[in-house]
């Protein structure tokens, strides 16, 4: 398997006052193959968006490397990377479509700007053709192209955000909870659009969500994060039928399922550990984990294989 995107030992630390260090992303290894759709799940604050920004080269890692089609993107500065052809290869659809559109740009300019900058398309006819094609692909009516973001609905803004990202034809599209800011009725429509786009354009997806049901529909492989670390990754079927990590098990148990109504659910007790100055020898899930033992407080569990492409980081898995 030749990976399109390969992250090795990614760390992102933030100063957290009084000399503390917040480990937002703490040693993540990740691969996305060409054409693959990988899901990334984990609760809010576990570092998903930080990982997305690292991978998209929008922030600098504290340490670690990122390879895009074999080329190390962390070897060049962000300022250099912005001008490189690879910049177009990895694009992000941001969490909040309203916040990610410039309020003083009409839709046309929002979509056209990356086409000009990244692909050097300046000819007005060609540019308009590309913008229209992107708008058509995401089902954005042409007459909305001359509007400002405040004149659009949430769903339309989401479509603009997607159109802007796919217009430059990236090899990898990262979607950071693309539907979490939308009304429930619109969510389903946008998800269907995203699934449809992938089959039509053949991009790889890294699909971030806190909702396992959503990634189950779209992704062939799922990565589960907890407090800055990957705790389990497996093909979707294996993850749902035989989850290894207690955190994954708890996530699955939390999915509402009418067939299991009345059964006792696995519930997480206790408060999560702090991401600030975490003890490197204590499992991040310790204290909240139903299967805790003394060993969990003295040795950090590493990812171990459990069958094909299935890894989990738990002493008891």
């Amino acid at each position: 398997m030749s990976a399109l995107l390969e992250a090795r030992g990614l760390h992102k630390h933030y100063p957290a006052g009084r000399g503390g260090v917040l480990h937002a992303v703490d040693g993540v290894d990740l691969e996305v193959a060409a054409g693959e759709c990988v899901g990334l799940v984990g609760e809010s604050g576990c570092g998903k968006s930080t990982l997305v920004r690292l991978l998209a080269r929008l922030i600098d890692p504290t340490s670690g490397r990122i390879l895009l089609a074999g080329a190390d993107t962390t070897a060049v500065s962000q300022a250099r990377f912005v001008t490189m052809p690879q910049r177009a290869q990895i694009q992000v659809v941001f969490q909040d479509p309203s916040e990610s559109l410039n309020p003083s740009f009409r839709v046309f300019r929002s979509i056209a700007d990356p086409l000009r900058r990244l692909l050097g398309i300046h000819d007005p006819t060609r540019l308009a053709a590309r913008v229209h094609r992107a708008a058509d692909l995401v089902g954005l009516p042409r007459e909305l192209i001359a509007r400002y973001p405040h004149q659009l609905s949430g769903g339309q803004r989401a479509r603009v955000g997607i159109a802007r990202a796919i217009a430059v034809e990236p090899a990898l599209l990262i979607l950071d909870e693309p539907t979490s800011a939308l009304d429930v009725s619109v969510q389903a429509v946008i998800l269907r659009l995203l699934a449809d786009l992938r089959t039509r354009l053949g991009m790889s997806y890294l699909f971030v969500s806190h909702d396992l049901n959503v990634v189950r529909l779209l992704c062939s492989r799922i990565v589960v994060m907890y407090l800055g670390r990957v705790v389990e990754m497996a093909p979707t079927e294996a993850l749902f039928t035989a989850p290894r990590h207690p955190y994954t098990q708890a996530l699955l148990a939390a999915i509402p399922d009418p067939a299991r109504r009345g059964e006792r659910r696995l519930r997480l007790e206790g408060a999560p550990r702090s991401p600030i100055d975490p003890d490197p020898d204590v499992c991040r899930f310790h204290g909240r984990c139903p299967a805790s033992s003394e060993r969990c407080a003295t040795a950090m569990p590493q990812l171990r294989p459990f069958g094909e492409n299935h890894l989990a980081a738990c002493h008891f898995a």
């Binding site: 920004r53 909040d96 309020p103 003083s104 900058r117 990244l118």
Partner: protein, 283 residues
């Protein structure tokens, strides 16, 4: 099409606030005086007349005459060009320079931010009018030096305002998207951030213009800057002030009123401008 939209925006901004319409009318009047005043006035503003000293307002002289028999109305109208010209040039210069420095400080932070911040703090540490006096005294009495002095004492306000506005936008989603879309730092600043901070900056500039007018006129009032017999509102008020006791009120009331009117007009325009330039209110 564009003209129509602009028209609707204008009518929206003015319709919302009658006072803005009044202010715009005053501005138009002032600008007309500034542009064509010298062709419109009944008398040569510099012409003295020994037989018509300190005449009260009447048929021949609408606003009366001063101690040298010059027509006060003509002098006020002609002075609009100099007074507005000095204030507008000074504000335009501090706007551009303040925006540039503030945007750099706010976007890049670090050393640039510290150096620029320190310079602005130093300016602010002085009583500003006294600083302006010092600058004109040091550089010499000239219109250009009044403009420079007024520009310098206004600079910190624009710089700090721009810095704060850029700073809050530096990490927004659309800036991140701009970087992802291949924009290098200067392009992010100029094309993606600055258009969004121009509207609030323009409002500031309009509110600030009144102060700049008073400042430039104030320098002339105390004898720094423009010299007699040039028609200038500050000099006229200062010359008229010696007649407060003897009761020739028209010598200082009319030029003073011209100053008040100009200040009032720009302050009112600030609010109207905010409505006009806010992209969220665009149709």
């Amino acid at each position: 099409m564009r003209a129509m939209v602009l028209g609707r925006n204008l009518s929206h901004a003015f319709g919302a606030n009658r006072l803005t319409l009044v202010a715009a009318a005053i501005l138009l009047l002032l600008l007309l005086c500034a542009a064509f005043g010298q062709f419109l006035v009944p008398y040569d503003p510099l012409m003295t007349d020994g037989t018509a000293k300190l005449m009260a307002p009447g048929a021949a002289h609408m606003f009366g005459t001063d101690a040298l028999g010059r027509d006060i109305f003509s002098r006020i109208v002609v002075a609009a060009r100099l007074d507005l010209g000095m204030a507008i040039s000074a504000v335009a210069l501090s706007f551009v320079l303040g925006l540039t420095l503030g945007a750099i400080a706010g976007y890049f932070g670090g050393l640039a931010d510290r150096v620029i911040g320190r310079v602005m703090d130093t300016i602010m540490a002085f009583p500003l009018f006294v600083l302006a006096m010092g600058i004109v005294a040091a550089l010499g009495n000239s219109v250009l030096n009044i403009i420079i002095a007024t520009m310098i004492i206004n600079l910190p306000f624009y710089c700090r305002f721009a810095r704060a506005e850029v700073n809050v936008r530096r990490e927004t989603g659309y800036v991140e998207a701009a970087r992802m879309g291949g924009n290098r730092a200067p392009a992010v600043l100029v094309n993606h951030i600055v258009p969004n901070i121009l509207p609030p900056m323009m409002v500031q500039a309009s509110l600030n213009m009144g102060w700049a007018i008073l400042n430039a006129a104030g320098l002339s009032f105390i004898g720094l800057g423009v010299r007699p017999p040039t028609p200038e509102w500050g000099i006229m008020v200062s010359e008229g002030a010696s007649f407060i006791i003897s009761g020739e009120w028209w010598t200082f009331v009319f030029p003073g009123a011209a100053l008040v009117l100009a200040v009032f007009c720009f302050n009112l325009l600030g609010d109207g401008l905010r409505d006009l330039l806010d992209p969220r209110r665009r149709i």
